[in-house]
Subunit: 358 residues, 2 copies
């Protein structure tokens, strides 16, 4: 347990011992008043986290399940997907496996689609939804969701679906104000819970379309998730121990000063990485300044460097970091700096990396 | 913790403190060799549990998710569903929500479909799959899967899908020998883990069909689950803490003498309920002798009795039992006698119920 603060995986993130311990709660009925009260009590904090007045729903699935739900419930025929990394491509593939057409707008790895690129694409192609990854976990690129949402909102009848897997909880999200129709994340990212819960929210516009989709299914039906969340009931038999961990984590976040403090800490961690990069000079970040994720940094090593060897040596020293998900992104390793990690933990890691890089 | 042995819910079942504690394992990479070794080491025990030489796959979902996967991957157009309770109807509804046709063969609550009924239905109607709930958790009825499988196997090109949610782990399952094409359960039943993991297996015949389904999706794709399980890799970011709980539970089962001992204990618990019913005379079981689930008993109280009041009073005394899922089944309460519970725990509950019934 004393090892907390050495797991910099892009997920599953380090889980605080107090949150892990919440999983020791003995099982009880998921159909009980007790569960209903727990779910109701968590809503205000979750809604602040997503920036929405809509109910935040919990799915017993990874975020991938919610992305599939977004596709089945929100895409009629054709979705435009900005692909600048592994998870953009993932969204497009998911759509195709669900029998939808995916129109890919590729962007350079490390970059996110711009409002101009999106506007041009929407003028040329007819789609009924646009999908963007907010914080691309494979590259560390951060998309400008408010600007992109404006472009989507200029078209009637096009829904805007955002994969917020490593942005939700790590930075302010203003889903309603921006005009986003679907946002989701997974428990094992900035929330710093064990994996197994998806969290999401959908606009009224989204739910209206979802209710008319004929093949949305049952388990991943977003209309159903929203309707059940509105009653503060759990959907199916939920992952009870993970809900107890979430309850504990939200209480900890409130105790530590609330979401704005947590968001500021994530921003500070990106600053720590940026200062380290500048001080060294021989490494750089794949994503350009001003468009970087507060939760994940993809660190590009000099040509000929051996990121796999570095990752292995770090592991021997007790530190976990991530590797590249796509070899074409270059010789890089990925630092997940999110959840309950602090700048001090991160400085500990970077000192060891510096020592190893020489 | 000392309260272990008083939760007789039909799920989530009581989880042994040692198994709960396995969730305290700090997070590590799901793409690591360590995870691959854990998954590989669990296969032989899981395969014995399902009675199959095929890989047992783990899904980060409840069993409902796997049922939807079975429908999407295994039903082309039309599935015949035996409905004698809540979960039979659930299967049919899931199929419809996935855009398939469900032909319902209703049976009396407490009864399971017979081989003769199934043969007659299959001679009259053209379907490409048959779905049966092995142990109907709403009534306690146990279907004769080997006999039903024989009937299905007599038809070429019809798949046999079995909801084993409260049978797998509670009794011997011989999936391959019986000729079943799909079996699944959820972690929070006879396995006695927290909810959030689905466990399933599929025949080669099933996988061949699944590979040709165009709309099977991504998250719940059974062909994908089988292919990834064959490599002992996890699918998506899995529920790591629940996998650690499963690893611990399989070690406990082995230490306690293996699956046959566990199955015998479940059979003994049904015997305990049956002897109690016989001794009292004023209560009965909804399911007839010889066709009762080893994991769940639906106890029918005398007309005019108040099961809701009984359940409430039991809860005040520290005991959890389940209520009816369908009011038309009569004045009943449901005892889940599975997982790590023992006949001695059950006798403790029944003594209190006897006291309350007078």
């Amino acid at each position: 347990m004393s090892d907390f603060g050495r797991n910099f995986l892009p997920g599953p993130t380090d889980v605080h011992p107090e949150v892990l311990a919440a999983q020791l709660t003995p099982m009880f009925s998921h159909r009980s008043k007790r569960m209903q009260e727990i779910l109701a009590a968590m809503q205000p904090s979750l809604q602040e986290c997503f920036g929405t007045a809509q109910p935040v729903f919990l799915s017993t699935s990874s975020a991938t399940g919610l992305i599939e739900g977004a596709v089945r419930s929100g895409v009629r025929q054709r979705v435009l997907v900005a692909t600048g990394g592994y998870f953009g491509e993932y969204f497009a593939k998911t759509a195709e496996h669900c029998g939808k057409q995916a129109l890919r707008i590729p962007v350079e790895p490390g970059r996110a689609i711009t409002a101009e690129q999106l506007a041009a694409a929407l003028d040329t192609h007819k789609v009924d939804a646009v999908a963007v990854v907010h914080s691309e976990s494979s590259t560390g690129a951060l998309a400008d969701i408010p600007a992109l949402a404006k472009v989507v909102r200029a078209k009637s009848d096009v829904l805007f679906l955002v994969d917020g897997v490593t942005s939700v909880g790590a930075m302010p999200i203003l889903m309603d104000a921006w005009g986003v129709d679907f946002y989701c994340t997974g428990s094992q990212k900035a929330m710093a819970l064990p994996p197994g819960l998806g969290l999401g929210a959908a606009s009224e516009r989204f739910v209206a379309r979802a209710s008319q989709q004929r093949d949305a299914g049952f388990y991943l039906s977003i209309a159903r998730m929203v309707s059940i969340a509105r009653q503060n009931l759990p959907i199916w038999t939920p992952a009870v121990s993970l809900i107890m961990a979430l309850e504990c984590q939200l209480a900890r976040i409130a105790r530590d000063g609330g979401w704005p403090i947590r968001w500021a800490r994530h921003r500070a961690m990106l600053g720590t990485v940026e200062r380290w990069i500048t001080a060294r000079g021989d490494v750089k970040l794949l994503a350009p300044e001003g468009a970087r994720s507060p939760a994940i940094s993809s660190v590009l090593l000099p040509d000929g460097a051996d990121p796999a060897g570095l990752i292995r040596t770090l592991e021997e020293r007790g530190y976990l970091v991530g590797g590249a998900l796509d070899p074409s992104h270059g010789p890089l390793f990925r630092i997940g700096h999110m959840g309950d990690l602090t700048p001090a933990h991160l400085e500990g890691l970077l000192a060891v990396v510096s020592e190893l890089l020489g």
